[in-house]
Symmetry: D3
Subunit: 175 residues, 6 copies
Amino acid sequence: MSERNPKDTIAVATHIVLPNDTNFHNNLFGGRLMSWIDIIASISARRHCNREVVTATINHLSFDKPIKLGDTVTLEAKVSRAFKSSMEIFVDVSVEDFLTGEKIKANEAITTFVAVDQHGRTIEVPKVVPETDEEIKRYGGALRRRQLSLILAKKMNPNEATELKALFFGEENID
Amino acid sequence: MSERNPKDTIAVATHIVLPNDTNFHNNLFGGRLMSWIDIIASISARRHCNREVVTATINHLSFDKPIKLGDTVTLEAKVSRAFKSSMEIFVDVSVEDFLTGEKIKANEAITTFVAVDQHGRTIEVPKVVPETDEEIKRYGGALRRRQLSLILAKKMNPNEATELKALFFGEENID
Amino acid sequence: MSERNPKDTIAVATHIVLPNDTNFHNNLFGGRLMSWIDIIASISARRHCNREVVTATINHLSFDKPIKLGDTVTLEAKVSRAFKSSMEIFVDVSVEDFLTGEKIKANEAITTFVAVDQHGRTIEVPKVVPETDEEIKRYGGALRRRQLSLILAKKMNPNEATELKALFFGEENID
Amino acid sequence: MSERNPKDTIAVATHIVLPNDTNFHNNLFGGRLMSWIDIIASISARRHCNREVVTATINHLSFDKPIKLGDTVTLEAKVSRAFKSSMEIFVDVSVEDFLTGEKIKANEAITTFVAVDQHGRTIEVPKVVPETDEEIKRYGGALRRRQLSLILAKKMNPNEATELKALFFGEENID
Amino acid sequence: MSERNPKDTIAVATHIVLPNDTNFHNNLFGGRLMSWIDIIASISARRHCNREVVTATINHLSFDKPIKLGDTVTLEAKVSRAFKSSMEIFVDVSVEDFLTGEKIKANEAITTFVAVDQHGRTIEVPKVVPETDEEIKRYGGALRRRQLSLILAKKMNPNEATELKALFFGEENID
Amino acid sequence: MSERNPKDTIAVATHIVLPNDTNFHNNLFGGRLMSWIDIIASISARRHCNREVVTATINHLSFDKPIKLGDTVTLEAKVSRAFKSSMEIFVDVSVEDFLTGEKIKANEAITTFVAVDQHGRTIEVPKVVPETDEEIKRYGGALRRRQLSLILAKKMNPNEATELKALFFGEENID
C-alpha cells in the first residue's frame, strides 16, 4: 500500500452565503457550515485512499467569528495523518472580503473518516508522509488527538494514553 | 442570576430520514445530522439562559453506527454545565426500530454555545445544578473537556490545565 | 392485535424558524409547517402500529397566529383513535417565547394515516384506549370527523352519517 | 369593490417528482405536496384580491393514490368563493403518464386564505361570480364547508350551523 | 412517427419567490431560476416525445431585470423545433405585479433536450409543425441556433454553417 | 482602474453528488449543476472586480456526459475577458473517478456577469490581461461570443457583427 503526501489530498470549495444558509442573525447557520465541512473533508479522504469513506468523528470545531450573509467562504481540507483504516483531516475555513480581496481565517475543524469497502467493512489506507512544517506539526499531534477522541468516546482509559500524558509534562503542543 | 436544573433545558426532536437527508450509501448524511444537532442544542441553550445563543464549539461528535433511510431518529439535548457566558450541551442521538419500538443509542455530541445580547456581546448565564447521577458525572467532566477544548483551540497551555492533568493520575473519567 | 394508549404514541419535534423556513413576511411559511406536521404525525402513527404508514388525509389545519423568524416551535403528535387500518392523529403546535419561556398554542392539525405492508396494501392496526379527559373527548369526536372526511371526499352520503347528524341535535361537540 | 370570475384566479404549476421530493417509498413525500399546494393556492388568492394573503385553513386534503418518483404532477388552483376577507380555494392535483400523455386526478385540496394589508390586518376582498357547473356547485358548498371549519376550530356551535344542518335532511351534497 | 404542434407541448409553472430562493440582494437567485427553467423545459420536452429526456444544452439565457422577493413568477415552456432526437425549447419567464395584475416579460431561455430510451440511448422524436407567427419564426431560427451551438461546442466548423452564414448577408434574424 | 490576470480570478468548488442533487435517473440534476455554476462564476467575477456582481447571461452550457450519484465534481471558474462593466467567465466542470483519481472534463459553461454598485447601477471593471495560450484564445473569442449574445437577445443586428462575420471567412474559431 503506497504512501501519500498531504498536498495530494487537498480539496477546496468556495461558497457564497445565501439567505438559504443563514440563521436569524443573518450569519452563516452553524449546521450549514458543518455540512460543507463534512462534504469537503470526505472528498479529501477519498483522494487519500481512493475508496469510499464514512464520517467517524468530529474531533473539534470552533466558531471563532461570525460569517455574514453574502460573504465568500473557502474551505480547504487536507489529510494530516492516517492510522490503520482512519484518516484525520483538517478543514481550514476562511472568509474573503470581496472589496479588498483580503482573506481571514474564520474556523478550523478536525475530523476523522474511515475507509470502507462495498460491504461497509473498514479497510487499510495509505500512510501519510508530511512535508511542510505545518503538516509535520499536525502529523505529530494527530496521535494525541486520537487518544483524546478515544477517551471522550470511552474507548480508552486515560491511564493508557501515554502519548497524551507526555503532553502535560513535556514541551509539545496538542497539534 | 437564578440557577437551573438540566431537566429544564431538555429539547427533543424526532425526524424520519428521507432521501433528501441521505448520502449515496442510503444512510443519513453526516452533514444533515450535524445540522439537526446544532439546532436542537441551540434550543436547549436558549431554554437555559432565555437569551439568544450562538454556536461556539463542537467538542466531540462520533458516528458510531450508520443511520438508514427511513429510520426514526430522536435527538435529545440537555445543558450539562454553564461557565460564565458559555453552556456545554450534550446531544444524545438514538435510532428507533419502528417494527419493534426498540431504541438504540447511535451517537453522542458535545457542543458549547455562548449567550449573546442584541449587539452580539457575550452575557452571563445561570448556573447549572445537576440532579441525576448522569447529570452529576457530565457536570464534573465539563471542566476537563473545557480545558481540552481551549488547548485544541490553542487558547490554553497544557501545563495550565490542572483539572485535566489530574485525570491521568486519578480515578476519574473524562465525563 | 394488542391495544395501545395514546401516550405511547407521542412524538415531539422542536424547531427554530430559520430564514430558509419563512415566507416573504418573515413568518413561518405555511408549506414548511405542513411538512413538519406530516413527518411528526407519521412518526406517531408508526409508534402506534409498528408498521409503515402513508398520509391519507389532512382533516383540518388552521393557522391561528403567525409564527415568526427565530421562534422556537414545538409539534406534539398523538394518535386519538384507530379504525380498521387508519389512525387519526392530532398535532398540537406551540410557540415558545425564549425570553420568558412561555409557550402559546399556535395551531392544531388533525390528520389521518393508514398502515401498509411492504406491498402497499392496508393492514389492521391496534385499537386505541384513551386515558385522559382530552384523549377521551378526541376519541369520541373521531368518528364524527371521519364521517365528515368521507363526505368531503364524496365517499359517504350525508344521510348515512348518523353519528354526525346527532351532533346537530345533541349536546356533543365535534371533538 | 369589483366582482371576479373563478377563471381569472386560475394558477397552475407543473412539477417533476425528484428524489429530493420523495419519502422512502420512492413516492412523493406528503409534506412536499402540501408545500406545492400552499404556494399555488396563495398565488390564486393573490390573483383574486390583488393583495397580500396568508394561509388560514387547510379544510381538507386527501391523498388518494401515491405519486411516484419521476411523475409529472400538475396543480391547478382556483378560488371557489369569497367571504368578507377570506377566500376558499380548490387545488386539483393530477398526475400525467408521460408515455401516453394521459392525466389522472390524484388529489384534491380545499384551503382558505385571508387578505391582509401591510400591517397584517384583514381587508375586504372582491366577491366571486361562478360560471361553470362545477364552479357553481363548489360556490354553493363553500358556506357549509366554512361552517364545518368553524365548528372544527371551535369557533361555532353546531346548532348555529343552519346551512350545514340542512345538508343532512336535504338533497344537497357538501360541495 | 407522428407530428406535433407546439401548443401541445406547453408546460407552465407559477412560483412565488421565497427567502429560500433569493440571493443576498433580496432578488431571485440566478441558480434557482435556472433550476425552474430546467424542470419546466424538460416537462415540455416529455410532452412532445412521450419519452424520457435529458438536458443537452442551454443555448441562451439572459437576465434582463431582477426578480424580487415575493414576486409571482410564471415560466412557460414550448417546443420550437425538433431535430432527429433533440428538441429546442423556449422558456418565457414573466413577472406579475400582484397589486395590478400586470405581467412583464423578465427573461427568455433557449434550451435543448434529447430523448433517450431506458438505456440512455438517443431515440427519434416527432417533428414540429408550427402554427402561430411566433412559432413559425422560432422554428425558422432553430437551425441557425443549432449551428451556433455546434460551433460553440466545437462540433462544427464555422465554414460548414451555411444557414448561419446566410444570416450575415440576408434579411433574416436569428430567431 | 487596474488590470488583472485571469489566474487571479480562479474560483474552485468541489462537490459530491448526493441523492438531494439527482434527477430520477440517479444522475446529477441539470438545475443543480446550473446553481453550482452560477455561484462559482459569481465568485470569480467578484474576485476580478472587487464589487458586487449579478448574472447577466448564460451564453452556452452543454451537458456532454451524465454525472452520477456519488461522483466527485469540480467546477473551476475563470474570467476570460472584461468589457466595460461586464465580464465573460468560463466554468470548466470535471468529474473525478475516486477509485483511480482520474479527472475527466464533463461540461463547459460560458457566462456573463455585470458589476453593480450598491444601488444596482452598472460600474466599470478592470481589464483582463490573458497569459496562457488557452486564456489568449478565450480572450480572442469573447468579442465574437458577445456579438452572438447580443444578436440572440435581439440587441444587435447581424449585419453590425463585424467580428463575428469574419469568422465565416477566416481561420479563427469561435473561442
